[in-house]
């Protein structure tokens, strides 16, 4: 048997020479598939790692920082006073952005002496020696003598700086000055991103900057273990954005990436299946001869599997290498997102190649095994048949049956199981069902629309008719395209719906003209009442309570008409506001309702901190996107122990004219420096900016998926070019010019892709609905209305078509541009 397998392998290897073009395509398909999958994995893991990474260079656990208030600055005296008051975990930082050779360089000057003084045993480390190790490890690992180095740069960033000719070979920074500065230590250090880090004294002396930008507060602080530092009036404590504020958005973002990774994998599998199928079809005559020579079918199967394994090993390695490079190419977009979200930039060099390779190889073998089922079955079937030309059997009705069964199974799952795994399975089944639907409907659509082609356009009519043949030959590639479009439509509609929902919710909810965050609401109220009588104030109070042992925050909410209109409700009782005003009713946020399975009208017993109970009825469920916590709204008079700390004051301009808010801001800055005022428009803008930045990566991944699918189509076109030769030869012999044949080919693909898009759009909408109403609810306990914008869909279809046409243009042009005699020769042969 071994001898037979080796013989078959030998024949396969020899056949590469005869089918080098197809073999090359299989290799390319696999490499691109693996590269695509690897790049998604790299981006996904990099993103994941980034929000688990410290967001400040050289030291972990920086969650708070102290900033000056508007118009103020942090002086050395402020810093010294804070440290002399016992805050030895506060470290001065000065930042400086320098433009050099059209690149922006971020310098971060850190007070190394304060860093050396950090007692990490207080921050959770085992011993004080850790602080030394933490700080010096970055210098220790330096390639050059660390003792003389002024600056520290991450190795990945150093490469970038070298490419930009900003870092010399002897590790000096060559800025716009004639003198290089340095030397620079190139070292891996905790939290080091795309910054040049140095001692604050170096920054002060090397450059003209003389300002402390902010003070970081080092420690494992959170809401339960808050920072207790007493600050002078002109300074304010700021919770850094990388923490809970973005937690839910981050989780949503990561889920999005995970789903994209899965879809990418599926698309890649289709690409490989397509390529393998095309390769094996070409080999069938050879295998038949082998069978006639007495080689057992098992040997042919085994040799094919060994070949695939070998291909998987080689192509995965090449794909991973390419994938990492692709991720790096995408890194500006990814970094933009990560920087805006977490203030951190990561180098992709930190990714473990073996770990990535093992995963991609496993996926490739799995994918190849699945992808090889159809081609291997065709070997089996065709080798058993007598005819050299396989009989064309219409499978269209079978495709419909499979599609219907898969839909049915997904429906059953939908009604029977409600966990996140089953939700993903439902989505997988839906997409697969869609593929079979494509196989069923596409020929039907072509037949149905054919009468609309004018009879006086024979070449167009031929092209239309030939499209059915092309679709049969490229069915797998078309399925890959279908998945890509479905995923694109689904993801985009979901993100768009989320954006619209967030925008609507936040705009409606922030109904005041401005908001003030303060620790002394009474003083601020007095100041406003005295100087700005046209402003009415509402103070939002809060109280920490618990429900069934879990923390719950109840907040006060006014019940005047305008406030009623501002609360975006998912569901409500008829008499909700009456009960709310009387203190009997409570509005709960969607997260709280879904996590505790609360229903309208349900009675709740809420435990307060003074061991009393608050008995209320759920009268409404409101949208509260982005809030990671359970929350409920009650009438103001029900709040017993307003939370210590900052209170929110909503300001409404009751005057006849627009108010000059800057005047109020100025007066607050003078009299109540702790108060922070934000105009609603600024708040809205900042919120939506964060949202948009979060989903930048999704757009990049959508494009990658589409590109892979387009490649699949392009490779199909190249492979079936051999079968196109008779038709093309005839057309060329009839005098049809090459440019027209090219246009006809492009017309065929446009037609096919348009039909695919037409099928993919409903599936995409369904996918989006499932993502919103299944995955989101399972993962975050919130959902939002699905918004189907025609404009978004048209844009997607247009961009998908453009990508595909660009991808197939090259192989189509190549086929057409050969001299007509080459095609005509074929007729004689």
């Amino acid at each position: 048997m071994t001898k037979s397998i080796l013989s078959v392998l030998w024949v396969i290897v020899k056949s590469y020479n005869l089918q080098k073009y197809r073999f090359f395509l299989v290799l390319m398909a696999m490499i691109i598939g693996c590269a695509g999958f690897s790049s998604v994995l790299v981006i996904n893991e990099t993103a994941m790692r980034s929000y688990n990474q410290p967001n400040f260079p050289l030291v972990e656990d920086v969650r708070y920082a102290i900033y000056p208030k508007e118009g103020a600055s942090i002086t050395q005296a402020d810093y010294a006073d804070l440290r002399k008051s016992g805050n030895r975990n506060i470290i001065a930082v000065s930042t400086l952005e320098i433009e050099s050779k059209n690149n922006k360089l971020d310098f971060v000057g850190v007070d190394y002496y304060a860093l050396m003084s950090l007692d990490l045993s207080q921050q959770g480390a085992d011993s004080t020696e850790k602080e030394v190790v933490l700080f010096t490890s970055s210098l220790n690992s330096s390639e050059v003598d660390a003792t003389e180095n002024k600056f520290i740069v991450d190795p990945a960033y150093a490469k970038v700086l070298r490419t930009q000719k900003l870092l010399t070979s002897d590790n000096f920074l060559q800025l716009n000055s004639q003198f290089p500065i340095g030397p620079v230590s190139i070292a891996k250090a905790t939290g080091l991103g795309q910054q040049i880090v140095c001692d604050i004294e170096t920054l002060f002396n090397q450059f003209t900057t003389q300002e402390i930008s902010y003070l970081v507060v080092v420690g494992k602080y959170n809401d339960k273990n808050p920072v207790t530092v007493q600050l002078p009036a002109h300074l304010r404590l700021v919770k850094l954005t990388s923490t809970e504020d973005t937690e839910q958005l981050t989780a949503s973002f990561h889920l999005n990436l995970f789903a994209m990774g899965l879809l990418m994998f599926v698309v890649c599998m289709f690409v490989v299946l397509n390529a393998l199928n095309l390769l094996i079809i070409k080999r069938l005559p050879t295998f038949k001869i082998l069978r006639q020579l007495g080689i057992p079918i098992v040997a042919i199967f085994s040799a094919s599997i060994i070949e695939m394994l070998f291909l998987a090993i080689v192509c995965s390695a090449m794909g991973v290498t390419l994938g990492i490079e692709a991720a790096k190419l995408l890194s500006p977009a990814v970094n933009q997102t990560l920087e805006s979200l977490y203030n951190v930039s990561l180098g992709f060099e930190s990714f473990s190649w073996p770990s990535l390779y093992s995963r991609v190889l496993l996926a490739s073998i799995l994918g190849l095994s699945l992808a090889a089922v159809i081609p291997l079955r065709s070997i089996d079937r065709h080798l058993a048949s007598i005819k050299l030309t396989p009989q064309v059997v219409s499978n269209e009705n079978r495709w419909l049956a499979v599609s219907a069964i898969l839909l049915l199974v997904s429906l059953i799952l939908y009604f029977c199981y409600t966990n996140i795994l089953s939700s993903f399975v439902i989505i997988g089944l839906l997409i697969t069902s869609g593929c079979f639907m494509v196989l069923f409907i596409l020929p039907k659509l072509l037949v149905l629309t054919r009468p609309f082609i004018p009879s006086n356009a024979p070449s167009l009519s031929w092209s239309f008719a030939d499209a059915k043949r092309v679709s049969n030959k490229s069915s797998i590639a078309l399925c890959a395209f279908f998945i890509a479009v479905t995923a694109n439509v689904g993801m985009n509609l979901m993100v768009n719906s989320f954006r619209v929902a967030t925008d609507t919710w936040i705009t409606q909810r922030l109904d005041a003209d401005a908001y003030i965050y303060t620790q002394d609401a009474d003083k601020v109220s007095t100041l406003i009442k005295l100087n700005f009588p046209e402003i009415s104030i509402f103070v939002r109070q809060a109280e920490k309570v618990s429900y069934q042992g879990n923390d719950l925050q109840i907040r006060s909410y006014p019940s005047q008409l305008k406030h009623r209109q501002a609360l975006l409700l998912e569901d409500t009782l008829d008499t909700s506001w009456d009960k709310f005003s009387n203190g009997y009713g409570i509005f709960v946020n969607q997260q709280f309702a879904l996590s505790k399975q609360l229903k309208l009208g349900q009675k709740l017993e809420i435990s307060r901190q003074d061991n009393t109970q608050l008995a209320v009825q759920v009268v409404g469920i409101y949208y509260d996107y982005g809030n990671p916590n359970a929350q409920a709204l009650v009438s103001e008079w029900l709040i017993k122990n307003p939370l210590g700390g900052r209170q929110v004051m909503a300001l409404y301009n009751q005057g006849a004219h627009p108010l000059e808010w800057t005047e109020l801001k100025k007066q607050l800055g003078l009299n109540m420096p702790d108060a922070q005022m934000m105009e609603t428009q600024t708040l809205l803008k900042a919120s939506m900016q964060t949202f948009d930045n979060t989903f930048v990566v999704t757009q990049s991944l959508n494009i990658i998926t589409l590109l892979v699918a387009a490649f699949s189509l392009a490779s199909s076109l190249i492979v079936i070019d051999f079968d196109n030769k008779p038709q093309r030869a005839l057309l060329r012999a009839m005098g049809v010019p090459a440019s027209k044949v090219l246009l006809l080919t492009l017309f065929q693909y446009t037609l096919l892709c348009l039909f695919i898009c037409a099928i993919a759009i409903p599936f995409g909408i369904l996918l989006s609905w499932l993502l919103i109403n299944l995955i989101n609810v399972q993962a975050f306990y919130w959902s939002y209305p699905l918004v189907i914008e025609l404009e978004t869909i048209v844009q997607l279809v247009f961009s998908s078509l453009t990508v595909v046409l660009l991808a197939v243009l090259l192989p189509a042009a190549r086929a057409i541009l050969i001299p007509p005699i080459e095609d005509i020769k074929w007729l004689n042969g």
Binding site: A80, A114, N176, D199, E201
Partner: protein, 370 residues
């Protein structure tokens, strides 16, 4: 575009401090030669520094303050504190100052400060070291701008006197966020100028010397707040103030330093400098209960190591026999407990000792370069 760049000399001690920190974390335990005195921080003399000489007359209270023209300076307090049950809590507070050799920094005044704080009990030890630059505002030794009283501080570790003199004073510092030390200190005797009127030779060839005075008569009381309890303590303290251009050269291997309170009221300060070329040389001061000092030289002192102990993998001599035959003092000095190593960026042994033999007593021992 060039005007936004300015070029300045890197403070040499900044790099040497960083260098020392790297040495510490990089060197293996067997590689002790690179961590000589205070982990190597005193190995190099700064030749731009003023130098100690016999012409300098120490005056109080002026010379309690900083001498920034000298490269190295320290204010060093050790104390043998006891609670009401007689349990000992040895305590160390030290403030080091180094001249960075830079006077035109935009961030600091070129002075670098490091403070070491330590408290031990028979079962536990707390040690912490903190750093700061002078001129920023969180480290200095000066007269308070408002009260004109002496103060020495680094962050929240604060020595506050009630006058321009060093004592009486209070000392407050916190270790590892777990121990609050609050002490009141009173002088019960005069200041002692070591060596010749404060000019203290450090090497046999007299190439290195410091200005050095002590206050060995300090009565201390106060409290120690631990996480679960507050302990009232009292005891004796010993204060040293020393400044120089440098105390050692590259061939100095380390030193062994003793400050002892003998039960008859005498105070004894001894130190041995170990040098690979010049050999080991002893110096010291024998102080009467009334504050009269006898300058001791190598001919007066006989010191031998009785035994070594391994502390954190390092062999250190924890049991000594010290004799001053001319003064009928024959004592054995042994560590209060074995592990009193200061595991900081600049590691050295600093711990309480018990004195037995012809005289009983307590005190402190500092061993560097092991």
């Amino acid at each position: 575009m060039a005007q936004w760049l300015k070029f300045r000399k890197t403070p040499w001690l900044l790099t040497s401090l960083l260098s020392a920190s790297i040495v510490l974390s990089a060197c293996s335990e067997s590689d002790t030669s690179s961590s000589s005195m205070y982990g190597g921080m005193l190995d190099q003399e700064n030749f731009t520094s003023a130098k100690a000489n016999t012409e300098i007359a120490i005056e109080f209270p002026r010379d309690h303050l900083s001498h920034p023209e000298f490269a190295i300076e320290w204010w060093y307090l050790t104390a043998n504190l006891f609670d009401s049950q007689g349990n000992q809590y040895p305590m160390q507070w030290t403030l080091f100052r180094f001249s960075g050799g830079v006077s035109d920094s935009n961030w600091s005044n070129g002075q670098l400060y490091m403070s070491h704080g330590k408290l031990s009990s028979d079962k536990q030890s707390w040690f912490e070291e903190i750093f700061a630059r002078g001129g920023v505002g969180n480290a200095d030794v000066s007269l308070n701008e408002e009260s004109n009283n002496f103060e020495a501080y680094l962050d929240d570790w604060h020595w506050r006197s009630s006058s321009a003199d060093l004592l009486p004073a209070s000392l407050n510092f916190n270790l590892n966020g777990q121990v609050n030390i609050m002490l009141n200190m009173q002088a019960k005797g005069p200041y002692i100028l070591n060596g010749q009127n404060g000019y203290s030779v450090k090497l046999a060839n007299e190439q290195h010397a410091s200005m050095y005075y002590s206050q060995p008569f300090i009565a201390i009381d106060g409290s120690i707040e631990l996480l679960d309890k507050t302990i009232k303590v009292s005891g004796e303290g010993w204060f040293d103030h020393e400044w120089s251009a440098g105390l050692s050269d590259q061939k100095t291997q380390g030193w062994d330093w003793f400050s002892l309170h003998l039960n008859d009221g005498q105070k004894l300060m001894l130190y041995q400098v170990r040098h690979s070329e010049l050999g080991n040389v002893w110096f010291g001061s024998l102080i009467s209960p009334g504050g009269d000092k006898i300058h001791l030289t190598a001919t007066d002192i006989k010191g031998t190591i009785d035994s070594y102990a391994t502390v954190n993998g390092i062999q250190v001599p924890l049991n000594w026999s010290l004799s001053l035959p001319q003064y009928q003092i024959h004592i054995r000095v042994s560590a209060f407990k074995q592990d009193q190593y200061n595991h900081g960026m600049f590691p050295y042994y600093e711990g309480a000792v018990v004195v037995e033999g012809s005289h009983q007593g307590i005190g402190f021992m500092e061993l560097t370069g092991y």
